[in-house]
């Protein structure tokens, strides 16, 4: 993907994140505070009958963190837990520069060279790891 297109997608999801808002009591709230950087996001997940019905997030974080969270959330809403976990696993493989399923990641592919900047890896994987942890343990 062209660098300018990637940048405009990342920036658009940072400056106008459609999923950046708090949600109510029917959502599970997970904090994904990152100890190695200063990103601090709360993720709100609504999982029913094994389906991620909705998700939002709120907090303060860098461009990579906010943008990747917004894109990821848009991608997993409507998927069942296993599908969502599979997307996240492939995303993490991409960031870690391992083989991954490109087709599955859709817009998340804009982060395909983020893994080359060591200081950005945590930012890019913060929410993904938090959501994955929750989904893999959740019984809803």
């Amino acid at each position: 993907m062209d660098k300018d297109i990637k940048r405009s997608i990342i920036l658009d999801n940072y400056q106008n994140p459609n999923k950046k808002k708090t949600s109510g009591d029917d959502y599970i709230k997970i904090n994904t505070r990152n100890v190695s950087c200063i990103d601090n996001l709360d993720i709100y997940l609504k999982v029913k009958n094994g389906i991620v019905e909705d998700a939002t997030f709120e907090g303060e974080a860098c461009v990579i963190s906010i943008s990747s969270t917004n894109i990821l959330i848009n991608l997993i809403v409507g998927k069942n837990k296993n599908e969502a976990i599979n997307i996240i696993d492939n995303y993490l493989k991409m960031i870690n520069e391992e083989d991954y399923d490109k087709d599955l990641l859709k817009e998340l592919n804009v982060f395909d060279d983020t893994g080359r900047q060591p200081s950005r890896i945590k930012c890019a994987t913060l929410s993904a790891c938090g959501i994955r942890d929750f989904l893999s343990k959740d019984n809803h």
């Binding site: 990637k6 940048r7 990342i10 920036l11 950087c37 200063i38 990103d39 601090n40 303060e60 974080a61 860098c62 461009v63 990579i64 200081s119 950005r120 930012c123």
Partner: protein, 398 residues
């Protein structure tokens, strides 16, 4: 100033993160290498020549620290692994025995974690109460607010000499005078001030003082705990073992050595102590007053230049310090730091280990520039230029 003493500055970096750690001059590196190449023995252990060299250099360093901070006796100087270690020894080795339930400790919201969390833990353990002195509009501690915070339960006030976020200097001498009139002990965290501003534990009447070697051009892993002799003598050691015992028998009888040795159990960080020795000489050769004057002048220049940029939010403009805290409006601090790093400008982004300050600072994360004497006007100019071009920030960091 003295840039030629720092090998690392040949790499072309602009190092503005001196509040986190300072760069090390060649003389510190050389002192450490000399220890390993020429007299790599243990301290206080052997009856051979190279061991005596180590012994005398080790104790010479204690004497130098004593003179640096104006202590009465070198036995009041304990080597630790750093400020955090010193603070924990003060809180758990001394105050855990000294304080009783409901006694109050005064700190502020702008203290470093090392001067907050140990008190919180002690609060849980023995039921003391941690209270905050209100900060004024410049986030500073005023005598009025200090006096207001004192109650008949206050037994200790524990403050940074200079804070690591805003960089404000506390009026330690006046505070300790009032504190002692009210039977309150004074603990000072000098981590941020030791390399920038003279402190005198006798004139300022400080009961306990803590600082680190690595923030004063010395090695990491070495720090200092100062305590007035009578107080330090009551401190319970955290580490029991070799070096600190006078004798012990098989039936469990243990006799400990005098202070400070009693508080330095185990083989000490000898290379750290010897590196600190070189760092103190280095600072004293330049002169703390000269350093302080230079850094203040450079800071004023930086503030002046930053103030001209309308897209910069400055948070501590009116504070007299070597620290400048700012954000590019609308840009997260970490993104600014990553952008500046593209130009080899090293700054800190974050809450600077003062995680509870955001409740009054109104902003969680900031970019922090903490200056040293090796920073120059040319480096400030370069920073300003890079900031002026920051409309390209996204193009550069994404």
């Amino acid at each position: 100033m003295n840039r030629e003493d720092f090998e690392i500055l040949r790499n072309g970096i602009i190092y503005f993160d001196n509040g986190a750690t300072t760069l090390k001059p060649k003389c510190v590196r050389d002192a450490i290498i000399k220890y390993y190449d020429e007299y790599s023995a243990n301290a206080h252990r052997g009856d051979y020549k190279i061991s005596s060299i180590v012994d005398s250099l080790y104790e010479e360093t204690r004497e130098k620290v004593k003179n640096l901070i104006g202590a009465k006796e070198s036995s009041e100087i304990v080597f630790t692994s750093g400020t955090t270690n010193s603070m924990n020894m003060i809180v758990f080795g001394f105050f855990k025995n000294y304080l009783k339930k409901d006694d109050e400790v005064l700190i502020t919201l702008s203290e470093h974690a090392a001067n907050i969390i140990p008190w919180f833990i002690l609060q849980k353990e023995i039921g003391i109460k941690v209270k905050y002195i209100d900060l004024d509009d410049n986030y500073e501690v005023s005598i009025k607010n200090f006096e207001k915070a004192i109650s008949d339960k206050t037994r200790v006030v524990s403050l940074a000499h200079i804070t690591n976020v805003v960089g404000d200097e506390r009026p330690i001498r006046e505070i300790s005078k009032i504190a002692h009139n009210n039977n309150i002990l004074v603990v000072v965290d000098a981590a941020q001030s030791i390399a920038h501003k003279k402190i005198d534990v006798q004139n300022d009447d400080i009961d306990f003082l803590a600082f680190s070697g690595h923030k004063m051009y010395g090695p990491t892993g070495i720090g200092v705990l100062y305590g007035k002799f009578d107080l330090l003598d009551k401190m319970t050691p955290i580490n029991y073992g070799g070096g600190m015992n006078a004798m012990f028998t098989k039936d469990g009888y243990v006799e400990l050595r005098e202070i400070p040795t009693r508080l330095e159990g185990g083989t000490p960080n000898i290379e750290g102590v010897l590196g600190l020795n070189a760092a103190i000489s280095f600072i004293e050769d330049i002169g703390l007053d000269v350093i302080n004057t230079y850094e203040k002048k450079l800071r004023n220049y930086l503030i002046n230049e930053l103030s001209k940029l309308d897209f910069i939010e400055l948070y501590n403009k009116n504070v007299n310090s070597n620290i400048v805290v700012f954000n590019i409006k609308g840009v997260f601090a970490q993104d600014t730091a990553i952008y500046l790093d593209k130009y080899n400008i090293c700054v800190r982004a974050g809450n600077h280990c003062a995680k509870i300050l955001d409740s009054i600072f109104k902003v969680g994360n900031t970019v922090r520039i903490s200056l040293s004497f090796y920073n120059s006007k040319e480096e400030v100019d370069l920073l300003i230029n890079v900031l002026k071009n920051s409309e390209n920030i996204w193009k550069e960091i994404i």
